[in-house]
């Protein structure tokens, strides 16, 4: 019999629906992958699992019932850009039902360590981006920022700015995943990039003045006698620079 590959839509609920199917059929898949990433071939047998909110809720509740901490880990790990994250998290969930809440500390199991590291990676990058996001104020008082993080942290970052800039309109675009977060002074929604409205946003002259002021501050607060570029790049990796105003050339 050919190994089965489950395809899903890439959402967290979709993934939990796949988990439900695995438990129901008691067959471990060879791979779980989004249908966008999957290349059809002759050797594999694949099956698309439709996202079902009722089923995903069931799995969610089942996990949360055992351990809220584990649920939190699973949610964060899922945002990680790691290859094959789905199978790792699946293994974690299977073990969770076996070992219950103490699983989190059973670091001799590979998927436990992997999940822990994935969570750390996501949290670290999300924390960094709370600092690295740069908004430009556009006409009509809309603040717009573009980010290109390794992991899928737009929701975490949006939650942060929902609290911080609650009385302003803002848009954050994850240009890597082509998704956009819109905030309307009440709540944010994350949607696929559907048109180029944000390309049509216009920067004001006042905005360019503030950009210059910021760059001026950034230059002058530096102490030349203490130059340490390696240290700078350790904390703020070059891959992020193109969206960080003061260090883009």
């Amino acid at each position: 019999m050919k190994d089965i590959i489950y395809l899903y839509d890439g959402t967290f609920e979709g993934f939990l629906t796949v988990v439900y199917s695995v438990f129901k059929r008691k067959i471990l898949p060879k791979k779980i992958i989004t249908n966008q990433e999957y290349h059809y071939n002759l050797f594999d047998k694949e099956e698309y699992i439709h996202t079902d909110f009722i089923l995903s809720d069931k799995v969610f509740a089942g996990i949360k019932n055992i351990s809220e901490h584990a649920m939190y880990n699973i949610f964060y790990a899922f945002l990680c850009d790691k290859n094959n994250k789905e199978l790792i998290i699946l293994d974690y969930i299977i073990n969770l039902f076996r070992f219950k809440e103490k699983l989190i500390y059973m670091r001799n199991i590979n998927s436990v360590l992997d999940v822990e590291n994935m969570v750390k990676k996501v949290k670290r990058e999300a924390h960094k981006f709370k600092g690295f996001v740069r908004f430009s104020k556009m006409e009509n008082d809309i603040y717009y920022a573009k980010i290109e993080p390794d992991n899928d942290i737009l929701e975490i970052v949006s939650r942060h700015f929902k609290k911080r800039l609650q009385n302003d309109l803002w848009i954050i675009e994850d240009a890597k995943r082509k998704v956009v977060s819109f905030y309307n002074k009440k709540d944010f929604v994350i949607v696929n990039k559907f048109s180029d409205i944000y390309e049509r946003l216009i920067k004001t002259n006042k905005e360019i003045e503030y950009e210059q002021l910021w760059k001026c501050f950034f230059e002058n607060v530096n102490i030349k006698e203490r130059k340490n570029l390696r240290c700078q790049r350790n904390f703020m990796q070059k891959k992020y620079w193109k969206n960080i105003l003061e260090v883009t050339k």
């Binding site: 600092g131 690295f132 908004f135 002058n220 530096n222 130059k227």
Partner: protein, 403 residues
């Protein structure tokens, strides 16, 4: 003068203050602008590798005082500027909304007199808090010698207050900053701390310096040893509950017969002090364990914890499957994360070196100082002072540090 000109002068003049932290305050946003994130957020990093979190500026670099080590001292001829309170408030709020910064760090030279300067600082922060409803992080300097009433007002508006001691002894202070009295610095720290404690006791809910106080010490401008500096630090943490002591390696900005000429700052020494400071605050070390009358200065070649371990080999090896948290922290190479992981893992899993490695404990150094379930690390020989000294190159280090 254009705002950008002022910003150039007054950010340049503020850069020698090492403090940048935006942590320790949980100010939530109730229908205004911004909030304070408890763990602090770095927004950028300058070429010197330092974090940029706050808009760090002076209100003015005019000063009636003449502290010898300071670039803004009265007798220096240089370009001077003054921001108006409104200008500072506008810069802050506009930088903040673009997420350039986490808040404001406002310091100032002394104009007219300490009280007048404080009043201007207060006016600025009042605009931010009351007019713009700004809930982001604000760190302000207390001006030495100002009235207690003004400290009360400023303390109720900001997250953190600091007053820089700068020179680690009264003699040095007298010599280089004759206008500043050590007593007035200490008394305002004491006042703030007592008021905080009183509020806590009486369970008052009012904001008063929620992120606490910090200070800065200049390293290398005067003759104080590391031991002297570290005991001062320890006393500040203990007596005034300071949140942070910053160290700033001295760089000559002025020529003076009482000051050394330093063109390359003693960064290594500064780094050792930060490491030791960390050991005091989070690892349960006491200053006299790290240095003493005989060893007054840190070894620049090895870090303070390894140095401690090598001088106290009789207290090792430490059994990782049993030792408590603070004992684990005494193992060179094991930090807070590793210690916590060891403790949470060993409850459920029997520890061996493989597992230690897997959970991310770095054994490169630690292996000489631990046993795991009674076993000394297999690749190393038995626990033996000579071998450890040799493997870690301590023999050479000891010889070197004699010079």
């Amino acid at each position: 003068m254009e705002v950008i000109e002022k910003l150039k002068i007054l950010s340049d003049a503020a850069k020698y203050d090492a403090s940048c932290s935006s942590s320790g305050s949980k100010r939530s946003n109730s229908n205004g602008v911004g909030n304070a994130h408890y763990s602090g957020i770095c927004h950028s990093f300058t070429e010197d590798g330092r974090c940029v979190s706050l808009l760090k500026i002076l209100m003015t670099n005019y000063c009636i005082y003449d502290c010898k080590y300071c670039i803004n001292k009265r007798s220096n001829i240089r370009e001077r500027a003054i921001f108006t309170p409104q200008e500072i408030a506008d810069l802050t709020i506009n930088f903040y909304k673009r997420n350039y910064i986490e808040g404001l760090f406002l310091s100032s030279g002394v104009i007219k007199n300490p009280n007048y300067t404080m009043e201007k600082i207060i006016e600025t922060i009042k605009i931010l808090r009351n007019k713009y409803h700004f809930n982001g992080y604000i760190h302000a300097k207390t001006i030495p010698g100002c009235s207690k009433e003004l400290i009360d007002i400023l303390g109720s508006l900001v997250d953190r207050l600091s007053i820089n001691i700068e020179l680690p002894s009264n003699e040095s202070l007298k010599l280089l900053a004759p206008d500043k009295k050590g007593d007035s610095i200490v008394s305002s720290m004491k006042y703030i701390n007592e008021k905080k404690n009183k509020n806590k006791l009486e369970k008052k809910k009012e904001y008063f310096v929620p992120a606490g106080q910090s200070t800065q010490l200049i390293v290398g401008a005067t003759k104080e040893s590391d031991y002297k500096i570290l005991t001062l630090t320890e006393a500040l943490y203990k007596n005034f509950n300071l949140k942070r002591v910053y160290y700033s390696a001295y760089i000559s900005v002025n020529q003076d017969k009482n000051l050394p000429m330093v063109t390359t700052p003693e960064l290594k020494r500064e780094n050792r002090l930060y490491q030791a400071d960390w050991l005091l605050r989070f690892y349960g070390f006491k200053s006299h364990e790290l240095l003493d009358e005989k060893n007054q200065n840190f070894n620049t070649l090895i870090d303070p914890k390894l140095d401690y371990a090598l001088r106290n080999l009789d207290k090792y090896p430490i059994e990782v499957s049993k030792a408590d948290y603070f004992t684990l922290l005494r193992i060179p190479g094991i930090g807070i994360t590793s210690a916590k992981k060891i403790i949470s893992t060993r409850k459920y899993v029997k520890l061996d070196y493989e597992t230690l490695k897997k959970i991310g404990v770095v054994l490169k150094r630690a292996k000489y100082f631990v046993t795991c379930n009674g076993k000394y690390y297999t690749n190393a020989s038995n626990y033996n002072k000579k071998i450890i000294y040799k493997e870690l190159g301590y023999d050479n280090i000891k010889q070197l540090s004699l010079f």
